[in-house]
C-alpha cells in the first residue's frame, strides 16, 4: 500500500508571477491552482533511476572531452537526496545542465559572445545510492548576462532535474555557490520570497571532501516531498 505525500508547502516555493523576472509575466497562470487528492498515479512514478547510465555520465570534465579535460575550476558537487521525513531517497535520477567556465551554454540558442569549450557539453546524470548519496565531477560554471531588465547577470548555477520514487516528488531547480555576490541580485533567485528557502539552494564549500591538488568540493542536499506517516509506522516507532 502506498500512502499520500504531504501537500506541497508553497510558502517555500517561488511565486509563479514575479514581475522582476519578465518571462513570468505572460507565462504565469492567473487562476489559483485547483487542489486534488492524490491517486495511485501521482504516488508512483517512472523507475528512471533503475536503468544503467553511461560510465562517465556523472563526470562532466570528461564526458564530452575530445582533446583533453574541460577547462575551468574543477569541482565535485555532491550531497544526499532526502525526503521531508529525512529519509534517504535511493535510486533518484539527477540530470544536470550548466554553462561552461566562461558562462556559455553549448546550445544552439545561446548567442553569448563568451567562447565554447570543445571539451565540455554541460550535460550530466547520476543516480543516488542506497543512502541517497550522489556525486558529480564538473567545472564551476561562469556567470552570464541575459536580457531581462537590460543586462541582468545570472549567478553561477547548475540546473538540476530530480526524479524520486513518485511523480509527486518531481523537481527541477538550480543550485548556486556559496559566497557569490550575484545571488541576492538575481531576479530568478528573487522569485523565492523566503530568504531561508533561497539559502537552501546554495551549495556549501566543503574542503574536507576536496580531492587534494585536483578538485574542490561543494555540498548540496536535495529534499523531495515525503509521505504522510501511517498509524502503523507511528506505532512501530513508539515501541
Amino acid at each position: 500500500m502506498t500512502t499520500a505525500f504531504y501537500r506541497r508547502d508553497r510558502s517555500q516555493q517561488p511565486l509563479p508571477l514575479s514581475p522582476g523576472y519578465k518571462s513570468t509575466v505572460l507565462r504565469a497562470p492567473v487562476r489559483p491552482l485547483h487542489a486534488l487528492e492524490q491517486t495511485s498515479l501521482e504516488q508512483s512514478g517512472p523507475a528512471l533511476g533503475h536503468t544503467p547510465l553511461g560510465a562517465l555520465d556523472h563526470d562532466l570534465i570528461r564526458n564530452a572531452a575530445t582533446t583533453g579535460d574541460a577547462l575551468g575550476e574543477r569541482i565535485y558537487v555532491f550531497g544526499r537526496v532526502l525526503d521531508e521525513n529525512a529519509r534517504p531517497v535511493p535510486n533518484a535520477l539527477i540530470e544536470i545542465w550548466q554553462a561552461n567556465a566562461a558562462g556559455r551554454y553549448a546550445h544552439v540558442r545561446d548567442g553569448y559572445l563568451a567562447p565554447l569549450d570543445p571539451n565540455f557539453s554541460g550535460c550530466g546524470r547520476c543516480v543516488s545510492d542506497a543512502e541517497g548519496r550522489y556525486l558529480f565531477r564538473t567545472i564551476k560554471p561562469g556567470p552570464y548576462p541575459w536580457p531581462n531588465n537590460g543586462s541582468d547577470w545570472r549567478p553561477a548555477h547548475i540546473h538540476l532535474s530530480v526524479f524520486g520514487e513518485a511523480f509527486s516528488q518531481r523537481l527541477i531547480t538550480q543550485l548556486y555557490f556559496e559566497g557569490d555576490p550575484l545571488i541576492p541580485l538575481c531576479p530568478i533567485v528573487n522569485t523565492i520570497p523566503d530568504k531561508d528557502a533561497v539559502d537552501r539552494l546554495v551549495a556549501r564549500l566543503d574542503l574536507r571532501n576536496q580531492e587534494p591538488f585536483d578538485c574542490l568540493a561543494y555540498r548540496f542536499d536535495i529534499v523531495l516531498r515525503g509521505r504522510r506517516q501511517t498509524h502503523f509506522e507511528n506505532r512501530t516507532e513508539g515501541l
Partner: protein
C-alpha cells in the same frame, strides 16, 4: 511534525533545458535509457497526442519541456506506469507524444494522462491532466471533475483530430498558460 525537512525550492528550467533533458532537440544523441516522446507498449491502443503551449498573449511557447505519466492500457500504474518526455519545436511550438490510450487506474476516475510543463518563465512546474472526449459519461461521474466548472473541465479534454500519417488516432491537447480559456492547473 515541526522537525520535518522543507522541500527544496524549485527554479525555472530555463531556455536551455534541452542540454540536460532532451539533447536530441539540439542535435545531440540522446543518452542511454533517456526518456523521449515515444512510449512503446502493447497494453493498449497506440495514439498520438499533439498540441501547443500558449502564453497569455496567445503566442506559442517554443522552449517548453513536457512530461507525461499515465496508467498503461490495462489501467495499471506503479511499475507498469508509462512515462515520456517531449520538448516544443523551436519553430512551430508543437509538442508530440506517441503513447497508448490509458486504462482507468482508480475507481470512479475517468482515464487520463498527467502532464507536467517546464519552461523559461515557469518558476515551478505546472501540473495538469488530459482527458479523452469519448469519456463524457465517465467524466460526468468523476469526483475530481465534478468539483470544477464545465468551462474549466473543457480545458482538460483533448479533441479528436483525425488520424496521423501512420493511421493512429490523433488527439489535440492545447495548453493555455494564462488568460482566456486558461488551462486548469492542479496542486496534487
Amino acid at each position: 511534525m515541526n522537525d520535518r525537512l522543507k522541500e527544496t525550492p524549485s527554479q525555472t528550467a530555463g531556455p536551455y533545458v534541452h542540454i540536460g533533458t532532451a539533447p536530441q532537440a539540439i542535435g545531440r544523441p540522446a543518452l542511454p535509457n533517456q526518456p523521449g516522446p515515444v512510449i512503446e507498449s502493447n497494453t493498449g491502443e497506440a495514439i498520438v497526442i499533439e498540441g501547443l503551449v500558449r502564453d497569455g498573449s496567445g503566442a506559442p511557447v517554443r522552449d517548453a519541456m513536457l512530461e507525461i505519466w499515465q496508467a498503461d492500457g490495462m489501467g495499471r500504474v506503479g511499475e507498469y506506469g508509462l512515462f515520456a518526455r517531449a520538448t516544443t519545436d523551436f519553430g512551430t511550438g508543437t509538442f508530440r507524444f506517441r503513447t497508448v490510450r490509458p486504462g482507468r487506474h482508480a475507481e470512479g476516475h475517468a482515464p487520463h494522462v498527467a502532464v507536467l510543463i517546464f519552461a523559461r518563465g515557469i518558476n515551478i512546474h505546472l501540473h495538469t491532466r488530459m482527458y479523452f472526449p469519448e469519456d463524457r459519461e465517465a467524466l460526468a461521474k468523476d469526483p475530481d471533475m465534478r468539483r470544477l466548472e464545465p468551462e474549466a473541465v473543457a480545458t482538460l479534454i483533448a479533441t479528436e483530430d483525425g488520424k496521423t500519417e501512420d493511421g493512429l488516432p490523433l488527439y489535440r491537447f492545447d495548453i493555455r498558460l494564462q488568460g482566456e480559456n486558461e488551462t486548469v492547473f492542479f496542486d496534487i
